[in-house]
Every structure is written in C-alpha cells, then in structure tokens.
C-alpha cells in the first residue's frame, strides 16, 4: 500500500518512532540516572542465576555461621543474614519478584482505571457521578489500611497483592484520566469526530486517549515506584510474599530484630529497594521535564 503512491518517503515503523520519542530522555541528566538505576536492577534480575555467588536460600555453614558478620570482600560482599545466607545473592534474586509484580500490578490498575476515567470524563452526567463516588469511597481509606484489610482477609500471595494494588490504585488512575479527558474532550478534533458521527468509544480510545499518554506515562513511572514501596511495606509487615524465597521487604522484616547488633542485614535490602524506587521517580521527573520542553 505504501508503494501505491510514488514519490513518498517510506513510512517509518511505529516502533522506531516510539523509540525515537523515548530517546529524548537522553537530554535529561536526572532522567538518565533514573533509567540507569532501573536498567541496573533489570540486569540483576535477568542475570541473577549467573551473577549471584551463592544460591539465595542456602545456609552457607561452614563458610559463615548463621548471624555472624563476615568481613572481607572476597566471599560475602554484603555479609550473611541470620540464617547464614548470602545477602548479596538474596538481594539479586529478590529483585525478580519486585520487577515482575510491581509493573504487573500497575498495569492491571491501568487496565481498570483507564476505561472508567474515559467513560466518566467523556460522558459526564450520571456515569461520572457514580464512578466518581465509587472512586472517592475507595480513596477515603488510608492506602495502607486498605491493603492490610484486603491482604489480612484474602491472604498473602503474589496474586492477591496484584489484586489489592489494582483495587487500591485504580481510583487514583481513574481520577487522573478523568481530569485529562475533561480537558481534551473540548478540543476541536473531538468535536470534528463527533460531527462525522464516530462512536463514543472510538472517540475515547482513538481521538482522546493517545493525547493523554504523556502525563499517563509519567504517572505510571511514579506509580510503579510507589507499588514497589507498597510491596516492600507489606513484606516488612509480614504480609508479603511467603518465605523462603527472597523478597526485599521480607528480608528487612526477618532481620530487623537484629538490626541493632547487625545493621548490615537490614541496611542492604533497604538500599536496594530505595535505589529502585529512586530510579522510577527520577525517570518520571526526567520524562516530565523533557515533555514540557516541546
């Protein structure tokens, strides 16, 4: 079809166009640092089996006594925990859970929040009133209270965490999308689509949603960071992924009783989780900065 019209340059593929847009992040130092942090952890997660010096769940006696702080960069870079497991290996393996479930949960929340926001912002009236009220009811719970009640009731597992995050975050996404749609729906190109009799869902999905993507991508980055914190907090409170598989929040929870005598057991997982969240937050800030320029 492209070749049907002579004299036109070849069409650029959508993927290349998108990547080119993304490459703008190079212009933001902060954004690049954020991206670097994220890439670092993604590599860690992907190559954990190759890079980690020890199996994550193995007690390493006689190399180390459980609970002993082993100095020396050679064997245990970050020391061992209360059960004598290598902390570095556990952190590397633990990044997998976080990097799978945080983006997944955020994605699910968007899948629920976006259509609701589109419908409320575009149709307004009763649809908006009902959806907004539902969102307000959910948002009136302090977030962690909501998580604790949900997880305490349905039990702690990876799937349940995804469900809880979706339930608790979708209203926030709903609000953002609704606000953007209320602004975009008065544009003349939406009016033009209406005058040619397009269906409401086509207008919402094809005419409006693509123009809201900038703020939504920034929001998604922030939200992934926040979900990582949430998963960490749940782990820390003992409501996270069940042991023994490493989970950063859980690692802190298990060892915090010993933090006064062996701070290394808790500090390194703390640094890991903070640096990953920082990565997403900095990336979001960089994206926002770049998007404001044009």
């Amino acid at each position: 079809m492209t070749d049907a019209v002579a004299g036109l340059p070849p069409r650029e593929s959508k993927v290349i166009k998108y990547l080119k847009g993304m490459a703008l992040i190079r212009e933001s130092v902060v954004g690049m640092i954020g991206l670097g942090l994220i890439v670092f952890w993604v590599v860690m997660a992907l190559l954990a089996d190759l890079l980690a010096p020890f199996p994550p769940n193995a007690t390493l006696y006689p190399l180390a006594m459980p609970g002993q702080f082993v100095e020396g960069m050679g064997t245990f870079w970050l020391g061992t925990d209360h059960l004598g497991r290598d902390i570095l290996s556990r952190i590397m393996h633990g990044s997998r859970a976080v990097l799978i479930f945080a983006p997944l949960a955020t994605f699910c929340a968007y899948v629920v929040g976006i259509p609701m926001g589109l419908a409320a912002g575009y149709r307004r009236g009763m649809t908006d009133a009902v959806l907004s009220f539902v969102a307000n009811v959910i948002l009136s719970f302090p977030v962690l209270v909501l998580y604790i009640i949900i997880i305490a009731t349905i039990g702690a597992s990876a799937v349940n965490i995804v469900i809880a995050v979706t339930f608790a975050s979708a209203p926030g996404i709903f609000r953002i999308v609704r606000g953007l749609v209320l602004d975009l729906r008065s544009r003349e190109y939406v009016f033009a689509a209406e005058t040619r009799g397009e269906s409401p869902w086509r207008i919402m999905l094809v005419e409006i949603l693509p123009n809201a993507r900038g703020p939504l991508i920034v929001d998604a980055c922030l939200r992934v960071g926040y979900v990582i914190i949430t998963i960490g907090v749940l782990g820390f409170l003992g409501l996270g992924l069940p042991p023994p598989d490493p989970d950063w929040g859980g690692m802190i929870n298990e060892t915090r009783q010993m933090a006064m005598s062996f701070p290394h057991m808790t500090i390194f997982p703390c640094i890991a989780i903070s640096s990953l969240v920082l990565g997403f937050n900095l990336l979001a800030d960089g994206l926002r900065e770049v998007s404001l320029r044009d």
Binding site: F133, L144, I148, I149, L237, T266, C270
Partner: protein, 310 residues
Amino acid sequence: MLIFLVRRLGTMVLTMLVVSLLLFLLLEINVASVAIKVLGPYSSDEQRQLWLEANGYLEPFYVRYFTWLGNFIVGDFGSSIRFKVPVGDILWPRLGSTGILGLATMMVVVPLSLGLGVLAGMKEGSKLDRTISVGSIVTTSVPEFASAVLLSAVFVFYLDLLPGTSSMTDGFSLVQLSLPVMVLVLYDFGYVTRMTRASMSEVMMTHYIRTAVLKGLPYKTVIMRHALRNALIAPFTVIMLQINWLLSGVIVVEFFFAYKGFGALLLEASLNQDIFLIEACAMVAVFVAVATQTLADVGYTYLNPRIRFA
C-alpha cells in the same frame, strides 16, 4: 456557601455509610466465621450456635447491620476479641498517642515543605530549585521502613544518641518521639514540597505576577502579597490530604519503633482477625480521612474568591 457546606457534609455522611456497609459485608457476612474468630478454632458447633443466638447473629443481615450501625454511632464498638475489653477503652488512648505523633510530624512538615517549595518555585530552573527538587525526589524514594532502618543505624547503632524503640513505658518522652517523627517527616515532606513548588512556579509565570512586577512593586511585595496568596491554595489541599497518607505511614513507623499508637493497633487487629477492633479502627481511619478531605474542599472554596463569590 451554606448549600455547598450542607452538600459536602451530606457526601461525607454518605461515604461513611457506604464504607461501613462494605466493612460489615467483608467482615461479618459469614456468621460462622465470626463465631470461630470469637470463640476460637476449638469451639464446637453447638457452642458457636449458642453464641450466635445470644448475640443476635441469627437475625436477617439488614437488621444486624442497622443494630451494629446504631451501636457504632453511639460509640459502642463491641469488645476486642484479643484484648477482651471494650474496643473504645484501647482505641481512644492509642488514637491520642498517634495524634501526638501526627501533630509533631505536621508541625515540622508544613513549615519545612512550604518554605522549601516556595524557595524552589520562585526561580524555576535555578540551582536552588534543582537541588530542592532532586532532594525531595530522593527522600520520597526511601520508604518509611527503609529510612527507619537507616536512621536507626545512624542514630542508635553508630552514634548512640537516640533510643531505638519508642514504647514510652515510663510515660511520654520527647527523645523517644524524635526518631519516629524524623522518619515520617523524611518521607512526607518531599511530596508537599514538590506540590508547593509546582504551584509556586506556575503562579510566578502568570501574567498577573508580571503586572505586579511592572507596576514597580518591590520583589518582596510581589512574592508576599501577590504570589503566595495564590500559590498556597493548592498546597493547603495537599497538606490536608497528606493526613490521609500519614495514617498509612504511622502504621509502619509505630510497628518499627513499637510505639503504642493507633497504627500499630490496627495492624495487630488485622493480623489477629480481631474483627470488632478492625471495624472500629477502619471506621476511625476513614472518618479522619473523609473529614480532612471535606475540610480541604471547604477550605479551598473559602480561600479561592473565584469560587467564593461566584
């Protein structure tokens, strides 16, 4: 304005009612499990049936809900399964302790973040702005439990300046309060700072600020009289809504520092399936959240003459 107030209060009551219904559905729809939670797993079926009958659990659902709601409104939350005392007796003192913690945090967060936010927003893109902005991103990236660990390591382990727990067994202690407050401030101030900065820099770019400068007003007057008045409306709302977030934060902090507060109580109740305590704690938390939200809305309307005199 009056109509607005009435309408807002109406929404607030309606929200509370829906929340109460949800909670009741979630926790008490299955009467058998209520009996198990109260009498323990080793009770017999007859015993459970006896208890259910004695406590009116065989009535239809809506009767139970309204009875429960009626009791709730007059302050009768039932008895805690775990502590074996009326919920109110443990809830109120715990809420007081958390109030102190929250108040102390807000007293630091509000001036700190407004000050930093205004400084950063006054000159967007300046060195000071970048420093404050990136600084606040960094601090909000450290979750409360992580900063609790890190700060404890520094102040308790290495410096030995502050106590590592804040159980306050010997009465109220400012020293014991300082670490929890530090943790909460560190996590919360960044967000308010960034919102204030955004609001301030937006105001600084408006035409009316240009008008004020070109009127020949001194820079100080431009900032104090023209900019702040408009720039602080949005952060006011953000601060009020921050109270909702603070309620999440105190759970972690109280748990970590063994502070005898509301957050720790809620967590304990949830982990032990102490349903009456959960209900009471959740309703109180939601009430605080909804009330501050209402206050934020009303305040926003009051502060904004465009809406006040519409």
